[in-house]
Symmetry: D3
Subunit: 177 residues, 6 copies
């Protein structure tokens, strides 16, 4: 069976909701960062499997910051979808909200980019469908993915910064903020 040559980001959308239980919390009764990253990794794994029709594993996690603590008893709402696919790897964008169920408030707490690689049954990288962005936001994510990938390669020492054209554009964008 031939696989589709491309997919839309929305085809890989995964929504996860988790209740913050006592063992997920730190000394202050807030969700531990590590527990949230565990859930984000699960969500990324499902999203990348939906895009690639294959299992995979985590390659990297981009710089990620924790803006607001999430309280015991509240709901963690995570949305993940693939922004761009390379040969066998995929970048997944995640957004996390805390839902205070009593007051019906949603606070955005995190954004993150995870990278997964698709593997075949022999654990070898396997090519994946291209992404065709549909919405304006998806297009921005798609274009930014190249810059972020170069930053990862530069940080990993695998790419000379002068060859990272797209990354230069990113730095320019920082300058203009």
């Amino acid at each position: 069976m031939e696989e589709s040559a491309f997919k839309y980001p929305s085809e890989s959308l995964v929504i996860i909701n988790e209740l913050v239980l006592p063992n997920d919390t730190n000394y202050f009764g807030n969700l531990m960062g590590g527990r949230l990253m565990y859930w984000m990794d699960i969500a990324s794994g499902i999203a990348s499997a939906k895009h690639s029709n294959s299992k995979g594993m985590t390659v990297s996690v981009d710089n990620l910051s924790f803006k607001n603590p999430i309280r015991l008893g509240n709901n963690v709402h995570i949305e993940a979808k693939v922004t761009r696919a390379f040969r066998s790897s995929m970048e997944i964008y995640l957004k996390v909200w805390e839902e205070d169920l009593l007051n019906q408030k949603q606070n955005e707490t995190n954004e993150a980019y995870f990278t997964f690689v698709a593997l075949d049954e022999n654990r070898r990288p396997k090519s994946v469908p291209r992404i065709v962005p549909q919405t304006e936001e998806e297009l921005l994510q798609y274009e930014g993915a190249l810059q972020r990938r170069q930053l990862r390669l530069v940080q990993a020492g695998k790419l000379n910064i002068e060859d990272a054209q797209e990354l230069m554009t990113l730095f320019d964008s920082y300058r203009k903020r």
Copy 2:
């Protein structure tokens, strides 16, 4: 009781060993990235508490990549220590090895930087002792911490890249690799 004005990095060193059990693994029998990040967060939390004599919470995790998969039944060895302290936040450097117990081999699998903030009992940021590096490696980590901090701030949109002197040095170092 007055707290010490500074501490050495070695005073916050934390060593964690965890056996990879079935529920920690993905479809391929390898440790899930999210589970490893959970353990790294616990290690960072203990290291930062040792430095600050206080509990804290995760502020951010720097770009982190997973080089080699860690197999079911092997041992995960994590070392964490504080590289530098700012007013109330601390950068923690982590190094992770897989130990193949049958063949007595150690593979380095990850390096990471976590940032924690120390909180007092009212959950308000609390000042922490300075770090005085002792070894050459600690000194390099200490100096690099400033660059990494600026990169976090620039990426979070809280610092203009032109004001990030140390970061420019980082970019230069990328150029020279």
Copy 3:
């Protein structure tokens, strides 16, 4: 702050995705029924809290059958929403799919009705907004809720079957199948 007198079913919609890990499975490598019910209960709890702006607890679970086994490594997709609210209790309808990520197939595996009661801070039942169904399916669920409630009351010995008008209609529907 006055609460809204009614809500739509869609306002309580909760989506949960869980990866089936080794410890969730039985001797045959299939998801244990009890583990699925645990996740369904969490989903119901979040849905009822979204509708009622309050925490609550499980009152009852209707007869529930397991059609198809869910395999290790696959994704469990659960959707839950409130079908009808009574004074302080709410009926939640859940639908469960197994997603075979490798073959991109979705199998429906379960349907269920959970009932939750909303509690105030003193653990006393608290009145909740009415439900106003919007779609045809929501209307059918809304109407059926009365019958199902009478069946629960009859089965609990709290209602005489001859007083259960709506239930009689249910039995008639069985006759006509």
Copy 4:
């Protein structure tokens, strides 16, 4: 080795005691319904395996209600035994008590009927020994099992209510309460 053609209900009796720990509890410090169902499913699985000398899986759970909340730190006492066996399926009756260890009080909190099917190594239904009830209570459970089975089949749309002779008797019993 030939297996016995019948067994007594007492041969499948399983007793489970579980301490309610923090992570088992909801916002109010009471045992979550889903966690209790998880334990009931485990108990049913062991009881059905004792009767059938084989592993199996959950087929269905009858309507089940939660009468009294079970508190953090208390003991959950579950008893399960097979009431009747059909070709390859078995109905298991469960009774649940909360034990308040400090005051030595036992409160009955749940009754339930689970149905399991016995499977052979190839995951195919396997015939199981008949049940021979010994006590009066076991006889009542044995006879009621037929009615409950018909109700399950009718609710699943697999049996016309007019062909459900035993179920009619059940409805009559409701009328007379």
Copy 5:
């Protein structure tokens, strides 16, 4: 409310059944010793609470050996009851069987003695009822408890071996085996 001055061992009997799941097992698919000790500790805690009408904590565990491995998918059956009470502490005797459900075989795998102390709400030791043994086996356990207690005290350096009259009897019993 005055508490009873004594109780029978049977009043504290606790039965626990646990299914061995993947995460409970070691590299060879056998139950990990530490997981079994965890369950034994829970059983001891419930037994001692039943005897003392109070919560308590683990004081010590006697020398304990693991005779036969317990396999994944089998049932662990634990029975625990108080053998003798001292001022505020209680000795609990535990016996553990593996149940091979497919072949209906029971193998005894462990015996153990745990000691718990009863605590009041202020975490201070609290006096507990005496034990009155009823069966011959309970009487033997009751008498042996004194010797085992002296061995614990000698091993902890809290009792001179020459003052341990009962322990000498124990050593004699070893000589006669």
Copy 6:
């Protein structure tokens, strides 16, 4: 590849740090004894694997007492190393501290001896390298191991107390305390 005929105790040293989370604690907010034994068993398993280059399983745990409770939110620090190896079994010495991170205090809470046996891939006992103690403390542990082994064998009814020469020396040491 020939394995070394001996190893030093320090080659098997394992350090574990675990944060005490809500689900690890009993009614009084202290670490449950069973949970600590679980972690000690994991540490022993890693230490014995480091010494033997093979997986193994728990054979026995010597009498072990819990001196000081460990509080929720504190750190448990465990050190384990092999004291002596017999044909295929190894004695592991463990020491446990509670670290009160806020006050930077360390309390010793437990000492213990675990025995593990090394197994080959067919689950058969496998010979292990000898131990050569290096420090004075290691030498004392090494010599004491023989006595403790005899006590285990006598308690298990596998050795006549009169043939236990080393054990007699142990009893003498008790007399002189």
